[in-house]
Symmetry: C2
Subunit: 317 residues, 2 copies
Amino acid sequence: MDLIERLLNKDKRAVARLITMAESHDPKVIEVIKKLYYKTGHAHVIGITGPPGTGKSTLTDKLVKALRKEGKSVGIILVDPTSPFTGGAILGDRIRMNDLSTDPGVFIRSMATRGHLGGLTKAVKTAVRILEIYEVDYIFIETVGVGQSEIDIVRNVDTTVMVLMPGSGDDIQALKAGVMEIGDIFVINKADREGAQRTKLEIEMMLDYGNLDWRPPVEKIVAIENKNIDKLLEIVKEHKNYLQQTRNLQKRRAQNLKHEVMDLIYQKVIDSIFDSSENEKKMNRLVEKVMTKDMDPYSATELALEEMDLKKIGHNK
Amino acid sequence: MDLIERLLNKDKRAVARLITMAESHDPKVIEVIKKLYYKTGHAHVIGITGPPGTGKSTLTDKLVKALRKEGKSVGIILVDPTSPFTGGAILGDRIRMNDLSTDPGVFIRSMATRGHLGGLTKAVKTAVRILEIYEVDYIFIETVGVGQSEIDIVRNVDTTVMVLMPGSGDDIQALKAGVMEIGDIFVINKADREGAQRTKLEIEMMLDYGNLDWRPPVEKIVAIENKNIDKLLEIVKEHKNYLQQTRNLQKRRAQNLKHEVMDLIYQKVIDSIFDSSENEKKMNRLVEKVMTKDMDPYSATELALEEMDLKKIGHNK
């Protein structure tokens, strides 16, 4: 296959092509990855996330430039917002990163929601594998906002950097509600603004309640002025070392892999149930009975499972 | 069962209790609904959705008060935002609706994301059924923002009111991208602000491209001043009549029911696959092989399907 050779020859356009194929869930990409899967797993994958307006793109830009100074190659995936109501404004911001795209050691790519969100998570995962095979040292995945799909995407990275800014008091309250645990490193960007230290203390107080091997550092930076970017990069590397030395990297990746395979099984099973016209007819008959109130939806489900011969699934020996 | 009797006796606290149980996916609620399912289907369910800040709560409040003047009983479900980063601010807004909660003809309830978003969609659906059995005439479901979960929730209602405000040009651009089709009625709230007419025309232009039985009306209102609320209510009733007369109500509900039963089948099948410790062991062995690069995740999935005897699913006669 031509694309395989081109990918092995580090042809950027082949990477772009494959990621486009991943976005439209073209099965040919999977064939490419299957053949070259042995090459994956060497890049360190960093998720950059947090509320809109905190300067994530600037921060990514500066971190990447710092890595480039060390001669490291980098892949960047910009995940477009899931809410159709915030789309326009945010993308404009990212134009600033365009100068990175002329750097031969950087591959940069925007990926958008097409259809269902679950599809994007899967496409991003595929894109990461393509970049790994392309042999970059670091992969950045930047998401905007923290909805369910962003959380799903970030769950698949090695190091998650949560970017906040001074005075995001409400945001921090919200973090308590469940996003907290996805941050490996907290950054207070725009830390030249008032309230940076208070925001730092608020976050640290929350972290005190956790009982973790890795206590997430909280770092104040001013990305646009390059202030403390080197320090942040050091912390990212510390986290990388921590993951490797404790074998948590292995554990985390194995866990993600398990979820992925479960998801894939899930899809195949569901597809094969509902691709059958026989089952389709059974479904329609049952739905009609529920519509006329001769049955409730829960009993209809039970009956469908019986009629479709699905009750014994999982109980094979 | 005590709760069944209390629900039939129109005990508000029983409704509250059952919805709390629905939120935590307590199977006892399902037993209650199974027994009383014959009572469902008579309420008209209205979804109120749109970007944050457009005044959805005020609009809901006024519409409900107009219906109360006609002696109609109403259930209101306020769905809490999915993004943990916008939670705090928005909920404050809703405190204004508290005076409705002392009205005996109104049942009002906030429901929040607990864990996975799919769970919320399911819990909201269950809550709607409880309110139907409780015999309200109208049910309002108000969501904040339009992420995937809001779209999923709104897909299950009879009439969707999309609330915008003047000058939400970006929002309207975004609507084109796919949210457009979920609006049965468009409202430009805060229409005393500049640009209301232009926003109205922009929306109507988009609607010209569609070829629909029901051409969604675009109504300018000022909810806080009660301006055009009665007119909006008339339009809601027109949509209700349209759905009933064309049998589109039946079709829409049958479609939703089918998706629900498919989802329920989906969950049961998946649960039974992964509840088996045998299958769990198989999974772990395969994941290990992928971790050591002896296999790729896609081939592992194929093998898992074979080993778990799932390949023939859907191909029963």
